[in-house]
């Protein structure tokens, strides 16, 4: 990638340094706390699946039982595996069933019992991590055997609510040119404090993310990948209250990308900030292990705030997402940092502003597979004007070397895309790619022209904002409404009751293995 904007390298270094300073206190908090969802993810990695007759997963039942009897300050693993060994339960499922019936006594073991519980737990979790490793290796092998599509990857959304309807639609989308299929989740799933079970056929404006739905869709895309001779990737969401569990299930079922933002749930879903930051660290550790590319959600800020005035908040959030991701072990090729083409087309020079923003993000994060989102806010219902706007979005995406291009629909905001909408949208992408796909190499903004100056201004504003965030702390900045206009105090929102401060003897076999690389 050629640098075109004349960014001051010292400024870029300062921006990263400020992001690190803003993020470090939050990382310390994540290292000293756990959450119910992190503990449930440990059980999922250890192979506990299924749900009781009411559909409540056994990981929830067991975690709740342990929490009630012994607390979660030491983690779920110590008391759970201690009870397994003491009670002679054949497996976690049997333990969970007995525990749910009130038949199990949990305690925090010490001495030799603690050693035995730790070893047993580590073995079980290791089996889950081995599955994740095997899936990662299988992905690499399939990509080698079948072929990797060139970037930008064309990203399309499927969302019928019924996994058995989603499958043929996803396969059709892949045949039409999609490189990445995203299955949108049912409205409100992010607020459920459990992951639903099984294949599901009913959802509100999306399909429930369940392990079985993951498996079914990945298998279907494997088939179509072989048919088409290119590996088609699958995306879902590690966000909301079950972020850590979603990440574990994604790794186990070989999802390839996961929406995973450090602040999205806080801002847009009123999930408690503390809970979110603790959960995101663990989920990113799992994604790092699974070789999953995360997609961050900065595009959302621009749907609520003004895309020109708030452009620098996108950069700030990207820098924070990058810091948190690297800290959790993700590599740059896994950072699908998000941004969007959301400037009001009535603003003079709107396309130049978009070019400046997109090129700025490209140069700030040269090795990240940037995810570029199409216009949604200014899609008015005039499908003809919308088609034109999408073409400009595609042009900007190709010119600035974006890596993952979400396909814009001219009927955005009107209805779930018709078959023909999607076909026309892909025709738009193909035309721009064929006509101007290489325009980027000839695109050299004037060093002191409008585009370069605008990009530098946005970076300056981002650095200023980061300085202010460092002065008051990131949690305070969120409480003040710095991102996406909403104020979110650290004690507010959902899920704070699921946050537990770790005790001295806290034991989490998954974190031990993920941090130790074993």
């Amino acid at each position: 990638m050629t640098a075109k904007l004349g960014l001051d390298p010292a400024k870029v270094i300062e921006a990263r340094e400020l992001a690190r300073r803003a993020g470090e206190p939050v990382t310390r908090m994540a290292r000293t706390h756990t959450t119910v969802s992190i503990e449930r993810a440990v059980l999922r990695l250890a192979g506990l699946d299924g749900a009781d007759a009411d559909g409540m997963p056994w990981v929830n039942r067991l975690t709740d039982a342990v929490r009630e009897a012994a607390g979660l300050e030491h983690g779920v693993a110590l008391p759970a595996w201690d009870a397994m060994l003491a009670g002679g339960h054949p497996d976690l499922r049997a333990l969970a069933e007995q525990a749910a019936a009130g038949q199990v006594k949990f305690r925090i073991p010490d001495g030799r019992d603690a050693v035995a519980a730790r070893e047993a737990a580590a073995r079980s979790v290791q089996a889950g991590l081995a599955k994740i490793d095997a899936q990662r290796a299988l992905r690499a092998r399939m990509i080698t055997d079948i072929a990797d599509p060139p970037k930008p990857w064309i990203y399309l959304i499927v969302a019928t609510g019924d996994i058995y309807e989603d499958i043929p639609q996803a396969q059709a989308a892949a045949r039409e040119g999609a490189d990445v299929i995203a299955v949108i989740r049912s409205t409100g799933q992010s607020l459920l404090d459990y992951v639903p079970e099984g294949a599901t056929r009913e959802g509100y404006a999306g399909t429930y993310a369940t392990r079985e739905n993951f498996r079914l869709m990945r298998a279907a895309l494997d088939d179509v990948s072989r048919e088409l001779g290119r590996y088609v990737r699958l995306t879902n969401y590690a966000s909301g209250l079950c972020m850590p569990e979603s990440a574990a299930l994604a790794g186990l079922e070989r999802l390839d990308l996961m929406l995973n933002d450090c602040m999205y749930g806080i801002i847009f879903r009123d999930i408690n900030p503390v809970r979110t930051f603790i959960d995101q660290r663990f989920s990113r550790q799992v994604h790092a292990r699974a070789g999953i590319v995360i997609n961050t959600g900065e595009d959302n800020y621009l749907t609520t705030a003004d895309a020109v005035g708030a452009a620098h908040t996108v950069v700030v959030s990207q820098l924070l997402n990058e810091y948190f991701a690297r800290e959790a072990g993700l590599e740059d090729w896994q950072l699908g940092l998000g941004h969007a083409f959301e400037i009001n087309p009535a603003v003079p020079d709107s396309f130049l502003l978009e070019l400046a923003h997109a090129q700025l993000v490209r140069e700030l994060f040269p090795d990240a597979p940037l995810k570029y989102m199409p216009p949604t806010k200014h899609m008015t219902g005039n499908v003809f004007a919308g088609y034109l706007l999408d073409a400009f979005f595609n042009l900007c995406g190709f010119m600035t070397g974006q890596s993952i291009l979400l396909v814009g629909m001219m009927t955005e905001g009107i209805h779930t895309p018709f078959l023909a909408d999607r076909d026309l949208a892909l025709e738009n992408v193909r035309y721009v790619r064929q006509a101007a796909g290489r325009l980027g190499e000839s695109f050299r903004p004037e060093p002191d022209g409008f585009v370069a100056r605008r990009a530098r201004l946005v970076l300056d504003e981002a650095v200023d904002l980061l300085r202010r965030i460092c002065a008051g702390g990131l949690l305070q900045a969120i409480a003040d409404g710095t991102f996406g206009v909403t104020k979110r105090p650290p004690a507010g929102g959902r899920g704070l009751d699921g946050v537990i401060e770790r005790a001295g003897g806290y034991f989490n076999p998954a974190i031990v293995a993920l941090e130790g690389g074993v």
Binding site: R175, G188, D270, T304, G413, F418, L419, A420
Partner: protein, 281 residues
Amino acid sequence: MGDPETRTTGVAQAMDQQRVIRPYGDTTGDGRVQVSFTLPVPSGTEAERALGEGAALQLAAKMGLDPAMVVHAKAIGPDFTFFIVYGRVSHLVDLSAVTVAEREFPVLPSAEVNLRIRAALGRKLAVVGACVGTDAHTVGIDAILNVKGHAGEKGLEYYREIRVVNMGAQVAIPALVSRAVAERADAVLVSQVVTQRDAHLFNARALGEAFRDVRPRPLLVVGGPRFDPSAAGALGVDKIFGRGTTPREVASYLVHALAPEPAGAHTEPASAGTGRAGARA
């Protein structure tokens, strides 16, 4: 519509003549329209293409397009074909027979909602929301309140002049009352999805009763897929929203009820066409 007596006879006549109209392509009365659609027919062979085009023309004829012309046909995968058709509609539109859905309040863009609140209240409008009773289905209340919103519209939290307290699921009605009082709520929003043994009706009535003696009493708004929107009075609440309600409709209603327009102001014509939700209604 203007008052014909204040106009010249010629204009009145012209308007009268225009009460029956046809679509306009490039000449008055030519009736030309464009439609596009997809049919589940393949488009692989010459014979299939001919059959598909015939099918598209048959549909166009049944839609009242005569003559019609398929200007574009393209295969979408092996089983579908997309068509663009131009034609002349034989139908007439009688403007005097057009019925316009009555709405007690106009749906306003968010900027105007904020403006009206600022002008009428001089402070933020406080909303307390909850799912009451045993109902744990927060999908509805969250779709209305969360910034994320619903149906392409941001939730009430997005409005700068609305302060939202979302109490979440399974809130006891007395707790809702005391929170509403503590927050000086202008409005209380309750969503009810569960309808077993008419729990939604029971809870709505309980809500009305619990707030009966609260002064000043906040506006009581109930929503859920199984409510009859006309039953507000019977249940003792101010407003009921049914399935498919969007955040902007709720915001507009709150403004209509709580932040009336200052006397003399007249924004209706300007706001009528500003939003798609308004156009849809």
